[in-house]
């Protein structure tokens, strides 16, 4: 573990407090990153990055200021912290809504994600060798036909932080992460099928073995080719929809997690990521059936969105977002918690030293039910099974979502039939969650990079769930 110069962070806090700040936090934040790229089997120039800097957040007279520097020099850091306090004071008249933080416990802690084979010892050569194995797996898939193009990235990141605040909280942490992203393309004549894949976990080199990506890439590559060859035109209509864990996960992320972000509800992201269909008074509102149960949990071991303390120094815990169809909890940071009169549930994250902590999901998922996959299938007389997806989006109040199937099958009388091409579900959030009829017992997660904030912050997250039946859906086709 890197020895971060804690004294610099403490100096920043002291310097801002001398300028009559009401609250100060300083975060030394280092990301050591490696990136390897393989395009159609050829190695592109790999990359190595070492980013270390200090982020400082100050509240003074109800005004909030954030600043950062990577000139880690005592005088520069003290000067920036003082400047931020003065900047906050000077801008206070423009803060009609004064910023305050909820009262939270003070913590002295040191935590790290489990890492058996340290990423500090992993070299770019190791990443490239791994990608070559994946590429070979992709090219080995299919019978008689090959993918038209393959693009793979592997990204490692060791994130180390030291957080200190004027309230006395001091937390040191380390989270290593590995992520693999790929684009697989099959083409014949004018017919093209494409699939993007992403896998990620926190942990050391051992997490690649745990994810077993070779076999997943073989299956994905084979399926891209099979869809190109075999998938029939999808016939739109009203039917039951069975979604796989990947689709349940993105639905949970987009239409439960995002609208449940308290900062969005209060309008803080209105000009960028938008607002929410929920209002500040909607905790307790019924938005789904009894089968609609969605949670977010940063503390899942090995998860891509793993953390124990957030970037405001609050201890993380599982959040039940929807239970039995009703909104039970919003994602809160200390600022929004103060507005709502609740405790923060530790949703504040910053992805680099030069970004303010904002409310983020961590690992968002549909809670499992008690059906086997076969039992779920038997519930459906006429329907479609969307195992995973490509195109998706949702409006900026999170009411109008669209998910276009990739690997998708017709269902007739409780049995899977042939592959169908690009079924489209375009559904309102209340209709979606009110129509959840049954959930599988097995949960799977997928990795993603969630974008929010200005300047933009791409945060590592998992989303997932079990298989899930959505009853009586009006399905379209691309």
């Amino acid at each position: 573990m890197t020895v971060l110069d804690r004294d610099l962070a403490e100096r920043a806090v002291q310097a801002a407090m001398k300028e009559e700040a009401d609250y100060v936090e300083a975060r030394l934040h280092r990301n050591v990153e490696q990136l390897a790229t393989l395009k159609n089997g050829e190695v592109e120039a790999p990359g190595y990055g070492d980013t270390l800097g200090l982020g400082i957040r100050v509240i003074c007279r109800g005004a909030l200021a954030f600043g950062s520097t990577n000139t880690l020099d005592k005088a520069v850091v003290s000067d920036l912290a003082s400047r931020l306090a003065r900047q906050a004071k000077a801008s206070a008249a423009h803060f009609k809504d004064k910023v305050k933080m909820s009262r939270e416990d003070v913590h002295l802690a040191k935590w790290r994600a489990e890492e058996k084979e340290s990423l500090d010892d992993v070299r770019l050569e190791d990443l490239i060798s791994y990608l070559k194995e994946l590429d070979a797996a992709a090219m080995g898939a299919g019978v008689g036909t090959k993918l038209a193009s393959r693009l793979f990235y592997i990204f490692s990141d060791v994130e180390e932080k030291y957080f200190t605040s004027s309230e006395g909280t001091k937390i040191e942490s380390r989270v290593p992460r590995l992520m693999v992203y790929g684009v697989l393309t099959a083409a014949e004549g004018g017919n093209v099928v494409q699939r993007t894949i992403q896998y990620g976990e926190s942990g050391g080199w051992e997490s690649l073995k745990r994810m077993d990506l070779q076999s997943k890439v073989v299956k994905e590559s084979g399926m891209v080719l099979k869809i190109l060859k075999d998938a029939a035109k999808f016939v739109p209509g009203e039917m039951d929809l069975l979604v796989g864990p990947e689709v349940a996960g993105i639905m949970a992320h987009e239409s439960v997690g995002h609208p449940g972000e308290a900062d969005r509800i209060l309008g803080r992201e209105a000009a960028q990521a938008g607002e929410s269909y929920l209002t500040a008074d909607d905790v307790g509102l019924r938005v789904g059936s009894n089968e609609a149960n969605v949670s977010d949990d940063p503390t899942i071991p090995h998860s891509y969105g793993y953390y124990i303390y957030d970037d405001e120094g609050v201890r993380a815990r599982k959040r039940r977002l929807i239970a039995g169809g009703a909104i039970t909890e919003l994602l809160q940071n200390r600022e929004t918690a103060q507005s709502y009169g609740v405790d923060s549930n530790a949703a504040a994250r910053a992805v680099r030293f030069d970004r303010e902590p904002i409310i983020r999901m961590a690992n968002t998922f549909v809670e499992p039910g008690d059906y086997t996959f076969e039992e779920l299938l038997k519930e459906i007389r006429r329907g479609v099974y969307i195992r995973n997806f490509m195109e998706w989006n949702i409006d900026d109040k999170r009411l109008n979502g669209r998910y276009v199937g990739h690997e998708s099958y017709a269902i007739e009388n409780g049995e899977l039939k042939g592959l169908v091409r690009n079924p489209v579900v375009e559904i309102s959030t209340p209709k979606l969650w009110s129509s959840v009829q049954a959930r599988g017992r097995e949960t799977e997660f997928g990795a993603a990079t969630c974008g929010k904030g200005d300047p933009m912050q791409g945060a590592p997250v998992w989303h997932g769930g079990p298989h899930m039946i959505v009853k009586d859906v009006k399905m379209g086709a691309r």
Partner: protein, 443 residues
């Protein structure tokens, strides 16, 4: 000890030469970014981000690597360069292993820099935008106002030694009169003189006031008029698809289209390495090659992809001054103006929709350009050549290649667009496209 800019460049170059690099490119970035964010008519945070970064590309034998470092301390820089040399990795095919392009080159920095960026009143100008929006009818106003002062240096093993300064002023403002009635305004400039927070605020406020009580429309095919903000989002996807890296990787709907008609005859798309008021401007690319203006699509015909030395060798093409050391990319896009006013476009439209902003564009296949996107903020149904009523809750889908070929009118007025959804600065006119699929959610 923290090194000065000249010291860092010189120190890294000396280390690269001492360690036997065949090629190196060293770039140093200083970025002083200020920002005022606001919502509900009130500031929510002010930001001051002071960043320095040194980016290094090294090639030795048949091995190469890219690195970036944020520390400017001499011992950190030394350890970083030594680490890069110990991590050099073999790559590239035998035939197209790239060497950095050798000059001599001729540069022409256009000097589009405003020193007032260092003393710009962020909170005061945000207040001007908010006030203008409220005066135009907004009940709630949100947005962000950002400034950047970027200083950039490059030195390469091929003798390039350049530096330049850039400034930019960006405002994104969104106004609301009701929860489902909002308007959007932008101001994008390299100078204070060209920056108009009052105008952007007024446009967003007027938009929010004019589109109250939106109604639903039937699912179907409509003629859609994309205002410049929406057009810019689609156009940036075209520009990004012109990256030769993306073409090889299966990420481009422009693959195998060189010399072919890919757009309507009136559609011409240019990428400018530097252009006055282009906030993505650079006079040199990451390989030290002078940037230039490249006509990507000339009256509907695809003329070139954009290249770095790797893709140019691989595709036997000329350098275009667009490196990206791994992926070449466009800098500032310009769509040539048409000859329509917005009113003329609307007047000729029997059944259509006019959209003023969009977000969340996603693809079913980058290779085919099958996509959908969501209009947001003010949008109107057009019937019989007139704006009938505001609309909400719609989605646009289709294939960009087909839509490009279907453009039947381009506006004569153009706006610079760069905001949260439009990463590539784009000077775009309004575009009118017939037979665009419009859908909405069930339930």
């Amino acid at each position: 000890m923290n090194l000065s800019s000249e010291d860092i460049i010189g120190w890294v170059a000396a280390k690269c030469e001492a360690l036997g690099a065949d090629d190196y490119s060293i770039q140093l970035f200083y970025n002083d970014e200020g920002q005022a964010r606001f919502s509900n008519g009130s500031l929510t945070i002010t930001n001051r981000l002071l960043n320095k970064e040194v980016d290094v590309y090294i090639a030795k034998g048949r091995k190469r690597i890219l690195g970036s470092l944020s520390s400017m301390k001499k011992e950190s820089v030394t350890a970083f360069v030594e680490h890069l040399f110990s991590s050099l990795t073999a790559g590239g095919a035998e035939s197209d292993f790239p060497r950095l392009p050798a000059g001599p080159f001729s540069y022409s920095y256009n000097g589009d820099f405003d020193p007032q960026v260092d003393h710009f009143d962020l909170a005061g100008n945000a207040a001007i935008a908010i006030e203008a929006a409220e005066e135009a009818g907004a009940k709630r106003v949100a947005g962000s106002l950002s400034t950047n002062h970027v200083r950039l240096w490059i030195r390469t093993s091929t003798g390039v030694d350049r530096s330049e300064e850039r400034s930019r002023f960006l405002l994104n403002v969104r106004s609301f009169t009701d929860r489902d009635a909002s308007g959007h305004g932008l101001s994008v400039s390299t100078t204070v003189k060209g920056f108009d927070p009052e105008g952007a605020g007024r446009v967003s406020g007027e938009g929010s006031k004019s589109c109250r009580h939106p109604r639903e429309v039937e699912v179907g095919d409509y003629t859609v008029i994309f205002n410049p903000t929406v057009a810019a989002d689609i156009v940036q996807r075209v520009g990004q698809s012109a990256s030769a890296f993306g073409v090889d990787a299966g990420l481009s709907f422009l693959a195998n289209q060189l010399g072919k008609t890919v757009a309507a005859e009136d559609f011409t798309l240019i990428d400018h390495g530097q252009i006055v008021n282009g906030v993505g401007s650079r006079s040199f690319d990451d390989e030290g090659v002078p940037t230039r203006s490249n006509v990507l699509i000339d009256r509907g015909v695809l003329k070139t992809y954009v290249h770095n030395s790797t893709t140019a060798v691989k595709q036997k093409a000329e350098l275009t001054g667009n490196a990206g050391l791994i992926e070449p990319h466009v800098w500032n896009l310009e769509v040539a103006p048409g000859d329509y006013t917005l009113e003329e476009m609307i007047r000729e439209t029997k059944k259509g929709i006019y959209v003023t902003n969009n977000w969340y564009t996603r693809f079913q296949s980058y290779a085919t350009g099958e996509y959908s996107t969501l209009p947001r903020d003010a949008a109107w149904l057009i019937e019989g050549g007139e704006l009938k009523h505001p609309v909400a809750g719609i989605r646009i889908s289709g294939e960009i290649p087909r839509q490009l070929k279907s453009i039947d009118a381009l506006g004569k007025e153009r706006n610079w667009v760069k905001w949260w959804e439009v990463e590539v600065p784009t000077l775009a006119p309004a575009l009118r496209i017939p037979n665009v699929r419009v859908t909405k959610a069930s339930g």
